[in-house]
């Protein structure tokens, strides 16, 4: 099986630890991972801000780059949601029925990380160890666009040493919402503050989710509050092993702070 990693532009540029963690996990599980260098972005931010005409070129690029692969994996529920749920519609609305057909045909093989691990590889124990108190936020697009259900939790429960605590109001949106965080900053912050309060109430050291964009928002609020809670992508927790812990005394230490 030819597996392509779709790093996503945001992770590639801002959170390289996350796609690197995906490579670590998949190689540990025996996959050969390719990173097609021509990839850039799914166009979600353009689409969701109303710039479908600008996004349609990225829809086409995505199809061109990833069509040769059997499976595409991305560490972002939101970007995978855009590919699977929006690409064909963007193409259709921009008068590109040919591209809409290609987008629909390719959508089924694009997977969010937890889906790929649980559904395609059939694995829930990826051999990770992470002895910390963790709470998990299911991001909206993983939950309600991709319907990943409890797959991320199945993976987390199998991590050695983890103290996984339930997040109150877990299924409520954190308020990130792409450009919503800027266009409706007050409402976004009001939602994020409630999410941050729920996170703090769990007493967790680490907040985990499958989207770094949401984590940047909630993490930015937690950091501003000096809350002492770190945020980490699911992939990075799943990539952690006993060996990593010997080299670092801080969870998810990357040399940088919150996303």
């Amino acid at each position: 099986m030819r597996v392509a990693l779709f790093a996503t532009c945001f992770n590639d540029t801002m959170w390289p630890e996350t796609p690197r963690a995906v490579v670590t996990i998949l190689e540990r599980l025996g996959c050969t991972v390719e990173f097609p260098l021509e990839q850039t972005c799914c166009g979600q931010m353009l689409t969701n801000t109303g710039y479908a005409r600008e996004a349609v070129g990225l829809v086409e690029r995505f199809a061109d780059v990833f069509e040769p692969y059997d499976a595409v994996v991305a560490p972002s529920g939101s970007c995978v949601g855009s590919v699977r749920h929006q690409h064909a519609g963007v193409a259709r609305d921009c008068g590109r029925p040919d591209l809409a057909l290609r987008a629909s045909a390719g959508a089924g093989k694009v997977h969010e990380l937890s889906e790929f691990l649980v559904d395609v590889l059939g694995v829930t124990d990826v051999g990770a160890a992470f002895p910390h108190r963790v709470t998990y936020h299911p991001t909206c697009h993983s939950l309600r666009m991709l319907r990943v259900g409890d797959k991320p939790l199945q993976l987390l429960r199998a991590v050695r040493g983890i103290d996984l605590v339930e997040l109150p109001g877990a299924e409520e949106c954190c308020g990130f919402g792409g450009t919503f965080a800027l266009k409706n900053a007050d409402t976004s912050v009001a939602m994020g503050s409630d999410k941050a309060a729920h996170v703090r109430a769990t007493g967790a050291e680490v907040l985990v989710a499958g989207d770094n964009s949401c984590l940047a928002h909630v993490g930015g609020l937690l950091d501003r509050q000096r809350a002492g809670v770190r945020v980490m992508h699911l992939a990075e927790v799943l990539a952690s092993t006993e060996v990593d812990r010997a080299q670092s005394h801080e969870p998810g230490a990357t040399g940088r702070g919150q996303r």
Binding site: A7, T40, Y51, L58, G89, F176, G220, G255, R256, G257
Partner: protein
């Protein structure tokens, strides 16, 4: 746009003010969570809920794509049953028809059943201008009317008020327009409901004219359906001599059998009950029972603007249950007034721009008043893809602005599209962020930043970029 909402600021401005109202935020949080939990419990009881949702959507889609046929059939059935049918292109026309009908009866007052259509056309204001008193009889509508307030929710227009505020409104205002509230009134909901009963009783008993909407109108029989809780609807639909119902053209259902779907979907989604206390169905005039002078006003008022597009049309499936409001994280915090319409919340953010157009500041901003979290679609009993419709409306707003002087946003988005349109261009741009990362490597995160970035950093720290992108790492390690 109607007079009341002219000059409404864009959503973010109104939202900012609403977010500062601590009492309202508390009221909304309590109320939306209460109803959310109730709905979840009664929906979970129904094994075939998803099949019902699919059928509800299919019934509505079928009606909407054959709307001319079913409207003519409805008119014919109603006329046969002794009702008089009127057609109104817009709010002004509908108001004129209703005012003329009330004047013809010689009555100076009407009692009203809660109706979104009559709120939408601002019928009360039109009646008032004609010297006719319109008494709202639904408890929440009464609270809004007595409080000289605006509705903020489809089902519970006074959701932004708590019991203590309602008590004050009753004590202060009831006496001016009828039976006063009892002096010792407490804020117990039971006592408040009792005060409303006493206040409205004399109005029900003497009213000669009632005005209602309808939840459904059955084309094959000409039967109108009103779903309610308090019995104020039954009072209005039964006791007066004249009944005028203002019905949006999208309310038509083909057959009586379609009610078996809607009467399962609506109460559970709306009030979170297995069934609402009262549902009234009437077919024109029933000799010896209820109003003998029955009128139905079929209202367009922009609905046909949403009818043409195969996707936008979904918005007209809406049965006004308000489940989407109750689960919406934006509505929960901001409330209904910021939406500048009697239709707030997720469905309002879709319906208003579709039926009113996107020319005003508030209507342009409504498609963006959502984090696209998708909770609304999951709750919608007729499966309206609200997030998808919002995104398409955003495209419409952007496309309508194109061609003039480009905004900062347009320049940024086009620049982003250009950079992302080519992997080499992206890589060159990433060299800049890597340089930033090296310069900032002693920092863990960034505090307040100037300019447009302040929208992020006013309340949130910002991440510092890494010294090496994933692409650079891959090329170095695997390339």
């Amino acid at each position: 746009m109607s007079a009341t909402f002219v000059g409404m600021p864009a959503f973010p401005t109104a939202a900012r003010e609403a977010l500062g109202n601590a009492q309202q935020r508390r009221n909304l949080r309590h109320a939306t969570h209460t109803i959310r939990d109730k709905r979840a419990r009664v929906v979970a009881e129904v094994d075939d809920w998803e099949e019902l949702r699919v059928a509800g959507a299919a019934i509505k889609d079928h009606v909407l794509t054959h709307l001319d046929t079913y409207l003519e059939q409805l008119e014919e059935s109603l006329t046969r049953a002794g009702a008089t049918v009127h057609w109104a292109s817009d709010a002004a026309e509908a108001n004129r028809i209703v005012v003329d009908l009330v004047r013809a009866t010689g009555s100076q007052e009407v009692v009203k059943v809660k109706s979104m259509a009559t709120q939408e056309i601002e019928l009360n204001e039109a009646l008032e201008a004609a010297g006719i008193d319109a008494w709202e009889t639904d408890l929440a509508e009464l609270i809004v009317q007595l409080g000289h307030d605006r509705p903020s929710h489809i089902l519970v227009p006074a959701i932004h008020r708590n019991r203590a505020e309602i008590r004050e409104i009753f004590l202060r205002e009831m006496g001016a327009v009828g039976e006063p509230a009892p002096a010792g009134l407490t804020s117990e909901p039971r006592e408040l409901a009792e005060a409303a009963r006493t206040h409205l009783r004399e109005k029900f008993l003497r009213a000669k004219v009632a005005i209602s909407g309808a939840n459904f109108a059955v084309a094959e029989t000409g039967t109108l359906v009103v779903v309610e809780s308090e019995g104020n609807g039954r009072m209005c639909l039964t006791l007066p001599e004249t009944l005028i119902s203002v019905v949006g053209i999208e309310k038509v259902l083909p057959t009586v059998a379609d009610l078996e779907v809607m009467l399962q979907l609506l109460p559970r989604s709306s009030t979170g009950e297995r069934m609402n206390p009262y549902t009234s169905m009437w077919t024109g005039v029933t000799p010896g029972d209820g109003p003998q002078d029955v009128h139905v006003v079929l209202l367009d008022n922009g609905r046909t603007s949403a009818l043409a597009d195969d996707l936008d049309r979904q918005a007209l499936r809406c049965i006004r249950c308000s489940a989407c409001l109750n689960v919406c994280p934006v509505y929960e915090r901001v409330g209904g007034h910021a939406y500048g319409s009697v239709y707030p919340g997720p469905i309002g953010a879709v319906l208003n721009p579709l039926i009113r157009g996107t020319s005003s500041a508030v209507d342009k901003s409504l498609p963006y008043a959502s984090s696209l979290c998708g909770a609304c679609f999951d709750a919608c009993p007729v499966r309206i893809q609200i997030p998808d419709l919002l995104v398409r409306l955003r495209t419409r707003v952007v496309d309508e602005k194109r061609g003039g002087l480009p905004s900062g946003e347009e320049i940024a988005m086009k620049g982003m599209a250009w950079v992302l349109g080519d992997a080499d261009r992206l890589e060159r741009a990433q060299k800049g962020s890597e340089l930033g990362g090296r310069l900032l490597r002693r920092r863990t995160s960034l505090g307040r930043l100037p300019g447009p970035l302040s929208a992020w950093t006013d309340a949130r720290d910002a991440p510092t970029p890494p010294e090496e992108t994933f692409r650079t790492w891959w090329k170095r390690e695997r390339g």
